[in-house]
């Protein structure tokens, strides 16, 4: 077993060796290195064919038409293109956008930009389980609402939203529905026909493909129009100019093909490993799961260990590559905005850890992770004055702390 153990598959995944092998064939002189837009020779035609196959593979995972797939540089670009593109195109109809507080920064920051441009944004607040209800969306919809952007699976807490219900509401109200599916593709079934979604963002590197490539699904029926954000040679039916990155697109296609084939089996395995992990640490006191356990992807578990500070926890778990809800490790000292939005107090938000399980996680790794988590939580709690107080039955909220 190699240390540190990678349990951060929601951040990114390693490229599947099958994907890497295929990708290599589209780079060098003896491979298919041509520009798919070159119409006058074989090099171009072969590259175009490879892109067509990949487009078909991406479309197949979500039951879409290949002509509805626009390749981008990743989910961040897809989110920008979808939300700004639709808001700008339909801006004459209205200026109101709806999203949620727990969305990814690529959506929230895009909405902030639109606010600066004069749009009005409503930020829905999910329940303590992290779920936005269709009722909430229904109440927020207005005459001038033009775009709704809600994520399928949350990146931090892994909860799954009821996209089909949002789709019904938006379609009935003739509002464009955009879904960020960066964390759900290959993990949860997506069917654009039954879900009635207009725009969906995808990323390859969360699905064992390479970084730097993603896609946006743009519905043809009903036909959704977008204002391009990248201008140039008119690639991707004018929605996203720029020479197609053949090797990356081929890799994304292969990654999505594998995902479709192996998703069901993988989810069963992930669920077993996750249950093992959760059972292994639940013997300790004051352990809280963040987000719904009922509507959650199999590979994610987000746990708060009360009375242990987040950054020291990450230090203690240095043999585990995990993400902390305490942003102390990054530039800001703010705890996770997602956990705050679902009503977790600062202490619990600070002491949260996201474990994400993936294709190469083994049972042995999970067992080792359980061991170091339990040992180190014990050690840190023995060192924690707050743990002493808890043990003495003192409510730490009753104390007047000197905030500094």
């Amino acid at each position: 077993m190699k240390l540190p153990i990678y349990l951060d598959y929601s951040a990114t995944t390693p490229v599947d060796p099958r994907v890497a092998a295929l990708m290599m064939k589209y780079l060098t002189m003896d491979g298919e290195f041509g520009n798919p837009a070159s119409r006058s020779h074989r090099f171009g035609w072969q590259a175009e064919e490879a892109v067509d196959v990949a487009r078909e593979q991406v479309a197949e995972l979500i039951n879409a038409d290949p002509r509805e797939i626009v390749f981008t540089s990743g989910a961040t670009e897809s989110n920008n293109l979808a939300i700004k593109g639709a808001a700008h195109f339909y801006g004459k109809k209205g200026k109101h956008i709806i999203t949620a507080k727990t969305e990814h920064k690529a959506v929230l920051d895009t909405c902030r930009q639109l606010e600066r441009e004069g749009y009005e944004v409503t930020y829905l607040e999910p329940g303590t389980d992290g779920i936005v209800t269709p009722q909430q969306l229904k109440e927020a919809l207005r005459e001038d609402t033009i775009v709704v952007s809600l994520m399928h699976v949350n990146n931090e807490i892994g909860v799954i939203q009821d996209i089909a219900a949002f789709g019904e509401l938006c379609r009935a109200n003739k509002v464009v529905l955009h879904v960020d599916a960066a964390q759900s593709a290959g993990k949860v079934d997506i069917d654009v026909q039954t879900m009635k979604v207009d725009l969906i963002s995808f990323s390859a590197h969360k699905v064992y493909g390479p970084k730097g490539i993603g896609a946006l699904y743009v519905s043809r029926k009903p036909r959704i129009r977008l204002e391009a954000q990248m201008h140039g040679g008119g690639h991707e039916r004018g929605m996203r100019s720029g020479t197609l990155a053949t090797h990356q697109i081929v890799a994304m296609g292969e990654a999505f093909r594998i995902a479709k084939e192996e998703m069901a089996e993988e989810n069963k395995r992930f669920l077993k490993l996750r249950t093992r992990l959760l059972d292994g640490v639940s013997g300790m006191e004051e352990v809280y799961v963040n987000g719904s356990m009922d509507s959650r992807i199999a590979g994610n578990i987000n746990i708060s260990f009360n009375y242990v500070e987040g950054e020291s926890l990450v230090m203690a778990l240095k043999d585990l590559a995990v993400s902390s809800g305490s942003a102390c490790t990054s530039a800001s000292l703010e705890p996770s905005y997602v956990l705050r939005a679902i009503g977790r107090d600062d202490e619990l938000a600070h002491s949260s850890i996201r474990f994400s399980i993936g294709r190469f996680t083994t049972e042995e790794e999970i067992d080792y992770a359980i061991k170091i988590i339990c040992e180190n939580i014990g050690k840190l709690r023995d060192m924690s004055p707050l743990w002493d107080m808890y043990k003495e039955g003192i409510d730490i909220n009753s104390i007047e702390w000197s905030h500094h």
């Binding site: 500070e309 102390c328 000292l333 600062d346 202490e347 600070h350 060192m383 004055p385 002493d388």
Partner: protein, 126 residues
């Protein structure tokens, strides 16, 4: 974040973790910080009849730098008089542990903990 070797050493092998009886008249207790800010330090000093710190213990809820700062302080104060201990500054702690700018508040907290403990002792024995 890259920690200095000294921080990692104190974090992995913290010195003097523990507690004294806070009701003991010879024990000075200082608790500073706040859970919401991400760090709480409890520093306790055992003071002999001559006003010299004979032992020190700490418990800290906080990041690696906060744990290291309090651990270091328990080593430094031993054998010092209260006045000498009160003269320890956060800049000395920062320099010793090579704390990065975003972690200076940890050293300030450790300095505050010493002062709070001495306050406690003085009010107890007034």
């Amino acid at each position: 974040m890259a920690y200095s070797e000294k921080v990692i050493d104190h974090y992995e092998n913290p010195r003097n973790v523990g507690s004294f009886d806070k009701d003991d008249k010879s024990v000075a207790t200082g608790m500073v910080g706040a859970p919401a800010c991400g760090d709480v330090m409890k520093l306790q000093l055992k003071i002999d009849a001559n006003g010299v710190i004979e032992d020190a213990k700490f418990k800290t809820y906080g990041c690696g730098s906060a744990i290291a700062s309090s651990s270091l302080v328990t080593e430094w104060v031993k054998g010092k008089t209260l006045d000498e201990a009160a003269a320890i500054t956060n800049t000395e702690i920062t320099a010793e542990l090579a704390l990065p700018p975003v972690k200076i508040h940890c050293s300030i907290l450790a300095e505050d903990a010493i002062k709070a403990a001495i306050e406690d002792y003085k009010s107890k024995n007034a």
